[in-house]
Symmetry: C2
Subunit: 368 residues, 2 copies
Amino acid sequence: MLDNLEALKKSFDETGYQLSGHGPRNVKVLKQAFQEIDEDTKSDIYGSGAAIGDFEDKMANFLGKEKAVFFPSGTMAQQIALRIWCDEKGSAKVAYHPLSHLEIHEEDGLKKLHGIETVLLTERDNVIQPEDVKAMDKDVSCVLLELPQREIGGQLPRFETLQAISDYCRANDIRLHLDGARILETLPFYQKSIEEICELFDSVYMSMYKGIGGIAGAVLAGGEEFIRQSKVWKKRHGGDLISLYPYIFTADYYFEMRKGKMEEYYESAKELAARYNSCTGISTLPEVPVSNMFHVHINKPTDEAAQVLAAVQQESGIGLTGYVREVDQNKCYYEVSMGDFYTTAPQEKIELAFQLLDKKMRTLPFSN
Amino acid sequence: MLDNLEALKKSFDETGYQLSGHGPRNVKVLKQAFQEIDEDTKSDIYGSGAAIGDFEDKMANFLGKEKAVFFPSGTMAQQIALRIWCDEKGSAKVAYHPLSHLEIHEEDGLKKLHGIETVLLTERDNVIQPEDVKAMDKDVSCVLLELPQREIGGQLPRFETLQAISDYCRANDIRLHLDGARILETLPFYQKSIEEICELFDSVYMSMYKGIGGIAGAVLAGGEEFIRQSKVWKKRHGGDLISLYPYIFTADYYFEMRKGKMEEYYESAKELAARYNSCTGISTLPEVPVSNMFHVHINKPTDEAAQVLAAVQQESGIGLTGYVREVDQNKCYYEVSMGDFYTTAPQEKIELAFQLLDKKMRTLPFSN
């Protein structure tokens, strides 16, 4: 018999409509992007050739940086960025948020491969403020800011906060790196251009498969010498593949398709978060989203929440989530990232799903 | 005006038939492999799912090892294998051939990322012998053998030599790793099964885009605990991509297409090498190939050789090479790897090409 979490996953997979994401991660994502690409189009070869160079130039220009390099993963790109800034200053120390991807999702690659010490700025539930940066030792080579701060629901500091941190770092010989996995998704909130954001940073990483929805891959952008060194480290990491075009052409295809849709995702995030916040025992973090993402916090133990959500999904045909993660014995949460899928679901079905959710949150736990 | 090397490249690209390789590295390689794959086929997700697991199981079974893991690159796979064996023994020292890929093509990733010291066994022009291994310090954690030894034309030690090295390493607490980028290509010479070769090694790397002709990617195989650790290091390196299926499905497709063709490639390598050796001032290394590959050495300066080869290619329509690399002021060479392309070229055109090559080697340099 399935346990409650497995049943939740199953009920999600069986829904006809899902409110987050762009759709299933399947082979269609590849095939659709390659449909119009000529068979004779040449592969990139170990980082050379138009297949990679043209896209790198395009992204450098888009981000307002001198140069860019395509990486198979953001994990690789960011470790390398920090390593370069550490070598430049001669101090193997960087600072970032305690819930940074590098700190919690990369098996300590930064420490184990690069011997870099990390300083954790601020508390887990906060975004980094200028005071946090000013309080740290000045032998830190680089501060990494993640915008939005994914693990706390995609929260953002104000733009003036970013400016203040950038100003301080520039005045104190500290490099500033942007973990911009989801940076495009923040533009509607900031009401700034991508160049205005990136200008505050010495180096910028952007993911090609979050809001953009490509298959995998990342872009790292910065000055010419920084990118030259990045390519050397890319080879060292084993990321200078003979052919990266399966990721590059798809990245380009979905970048063109979705770069202009971030406002739509942002608006739908606010709309959907409001629906969640209208339900008993449920709140979103942040309450009003500042990008396309937010976390849904449920005041029930994981097992009970899974039962509630599975029941809602089965009865409504609307997919809310495939998992919940425990916060403590009485609370759990899951992440929502808005994409193309939201607008495919009929409004009356969404309405029904949230009526059911509110009702079941009030009337359950079940007796089983 | 094009210089001679550029003209050589251009003349090669313009030929109707090319004697080495499987064909151009273009988007068709991807499209062909995906043609029969259903759009609904699910992606792998960070190393999980049937898309990656099924192929890893298949390759572990094929290589006769407990487990296998798919990597985006051999560079990453091999550094990680050596790191694991170094950690196991507590000695950051490995030994390999002076022309190992790790020593000359990876920007010293092994040293810079893993802090591993390298011992170079034997001279550049030799293959590693048991005496070389016995002469090294016993604090070496792992010996890496590359079969065939690519940078010296794909030479191979005898199978008994491999057995003797393996026996010595096992008796002396030294791990033996196989750089088997082109290991399938050696089976017709050894007249052994792939399991008989791999059984001599603690860990095995095989490329999916050399003789197999996939887009990119590699398989690392070994014991269960070794592979468990490999996956942790894969994440640290930034190689645990959310989706590797564009490489995996193509690897599987071309593996099935070509795993049985290594005998054909071996025979055509011997045939083609004999043609080269019949030409004035040209010899192959090895004289009689022992895999699908060999090097063509030309007793002329790089510039003159490029002129000769370009002229042959223009007049015959047969592509021999797109480059030559200097050995010294009077000699140069290039590499040949046989694949599906050889049999597409008409024999009389090949005959003509080698008549022209012999003639021009005797009568040129040009007067320009």
